[in-house]
């Protein structure tokens, strides 16, 4: 038998990423379409409010600066990531990829997704600012605390938060691959319990003031930086879960 050179690790990880690119619509296409629809609806609502307010006392300058529509695409990344893994894991392993290479490739693909979305939304935020908030003083792509932020903070925030959600989705996806719906329900219940527990602890310690100061006193960029270790932990957890996932129909 002729000994063949084993496929280089970088190439194997690339293969793990490429299974997602075979059909990039759900990961890179559909979210933009839905975001466009959410923006169109938000814009329509602005016009209705502005029209209604014109006969009354007029609007405050910051009336349209707190639209939450763009946060939708951030949270949607949980579903996108979980679904992407459920779609491709058995296919990749069926093509002789190791779970490790598949996971590293998937993580790289998710990193690329966060950069693409972050850059795209930042460009839209720049257009938004250049057009005086789409001619209405609105802020859809960089609303609320991002309204005054420099563009690099806008980009940094979206990339960081997308990564957080994508890797949370990777944990959910790995749990779904191993324990199906039972696992997901357990995960959501555990998450809800953790949030209630945290609320209880903060209330019990009478620490809401401290929490408020901490959040208010820390810059947006620094807060996003604090999500990175959490994202890394989620990534590690997703890998540990996936490493023991069997391939079942």
């Amino acid at each position: 038998m002729t000994a063949i050179a084993p496929v280089a690790p970088g190439r194997r990880i690339l293969n793990g990423a490429r299974v997602h690119a075979a059909n990039p619509f759900t990961t890179l296409g559909l979210p933009w379409l839905i975001l466009a629809a959410v923006f169109a609806l938000t814009y329509a609502i602005w016009r209705i409010i502005a029209w209604a307010a014109s006969s009354g006392g007029g609007l405050d300058d910051d009336a349209f600066r707190y639209a939450g529509g763009v946060s939708w695409i951030i949270f949607y990344m949980i579903a996108v990531a979980a679904q992407a893994m459920n779609q491709t894991f058995r296919f990749a392993v069926g093509l002789s990829q190791t779970r490790r290479d598949y996971f590293l490739g998937t993580a790289a693909y998710f990193g690329g997704m966060a950069l693409i979305y972050g850059a795209g939304i930042t460009v839209l935020a720049a257009v938004e600012r250049a057009t005086g908030g789409w001619g209405m003083g609105g802020a859809f792509f960089a609303p609320a605390f991002l309204y005054d932020a420099p563009l690099w903070v806008v980009m940094w925030s979206f990339v960081g938060l997308m990564l957080l959600m994508l890797f949370f989705g990777a944990v959910a996806g790995a749990i779904f691959l191993r324990w199906r719906a039972t696992g997901l329900v357990t995960l959501l219940l555990a998450l809800a319990a953790a949030i209630v527990g945290a609320v209880f602890l903060i209330t019990w310690a009478d620490a809401w003031g401290t929490v408020g100061e901490l959040l208010g006193g820390t810059s947006v960029a620094a807060l996003v930086a604090w999500t990175l270790p959490v994202t890394a932990l989620l990534g590690g957890l997703a890998f540990l879960l996936l490493r023991r996932a069997a391939v079942r129909a």
Binding site: V7, R11, R18, N23, G94, S96, T98, A246, R248
Partner: protein, 295 residues
């Protein structure tokens, strides 16, 4: 010869179900193995254990002398084609071939396209929208064109019509002659695949019940037909796999019949008939075992 597959006490249990139980197996380089057994006998689980797609409860699988689980060195030389392979939504036939070409160093794209033509697989169609036979054919193409040193087919032609199955057999034989490699193929269509097989492994309720050269196996069993009392006399003390009786005429399928025994049977006025691999496997895996004479 070198062992391409070695397992030692390989076991996989799901609760009380013993899907694969204490399998110790050695597959030599360059042969075609048939992995035979009934539905649920553990064929798919065994093949998934070999490639680390499923996790062993105990025991270990080694391919090319190394542990296979999560081992890119051996997995890159191994291709497992499953009937139950799942494909992402919207992935088309040619996407599958392209993804396969990334994984396998010996992949032959021209050959894959030729096979798709011969098997009439619409490569532009979404795999999820293909018929069962077309999906099976996609798997068969991946298995053949991968030219992986170890190729494992799990029911490669479920849903394929007779013509497509013949195309597959012919392609496999022709390609093996040019590019020798080790093939393990699980199948229900035993007699049809039988000419391809060098060696036969029969698994029943998770355990290996036969592991033998196909030719030797075909020669060992025989069906004797004759008057009931002559048949009874001949089979007493032998391993009877199956018996039937109509009126005064009886037939019995007997294992481990050597030349002397054949001569004795002929002398006793019995007719001898060959037993196909399929009949033998059916008998060995409980088809007619323990059935009483219907008299």
């Amino acid at each position: 010869m070198t062992a391409i597959i070695e397992t030692e006490g390989l076991t996989r249990r799901y609760g009380d179900v013993h899907a694969v139980e204490d399998v110790t197996l050695r597959v030599e380089e360059g042969s075609v193995y048939g992995l035979l057994g009934r539905n649920g006998a553990g064929k798919t689980t065994l093949l998934q254990l070999l490639t680390g797609q499923e996790f062993a409860t105990s025991g270990e699988a080694r391919l090319f002398g190394e542990r296979s689980l999560e081992n890119p060195r051996v997995l890159g030389r191994t291709c497992l084609v499953k009937e139950s392979q799942s494909y992402p939504d919207n992935v088309r036939g040619h996407h599958v071939l392209r993804a396969a070409s990334w994984s396998y160093a010996h992949w032959d794209q021209d050959y894959a396209i030729r096979l798709a033509d011969d098997l009439r697989v619409p490569l532009g169609r979404r795999v999820k929208k293909m018929s069962r036979g077309q999906r099976s054919a996609v798997g068969a193409i991946v298995g053949l064109a991968s030219r992986a040193e170890l190729t494992l087919f799990d029911e490669p032609y479920a849903g394929l019509d007779a013509v497509a199955r013949q195309v597959f057999y012919d392609a496999l034989l022709a390609d093996l002659a040019e590019h020798p490699r080790t093939v393990v193929m699980s199948t229900h269509l035993i007699d049809e695949a039988s000419p391809l097989l060098d060696r036969v492994v029969v698994i029943d309720e998770g355990r290996i019940v036969i592991d033998a050269e196909a030719d030797a196996l075909r020669g060992t069993a025989v069906t004797v037909v004759g008057r009931a009392q002559d048949v009874d006399a001949f089979v007493s003390g032998r391993d009877v796999l199956r018996r039937d009786r109509i009126g005064g005429i009886s037939s019995a399928t007997v294992a481990d019949v050597d030349h002397a025994a054949r001569a004795a049977a002929t002398a006793a006025g019995l007719e001898l008939a060959p037993v196909s691999l399929q009949e033998l496997v059916v008998a060995r895996t409980g088809g007619a075992r323990g059935r009483k004479d219907p008299s």
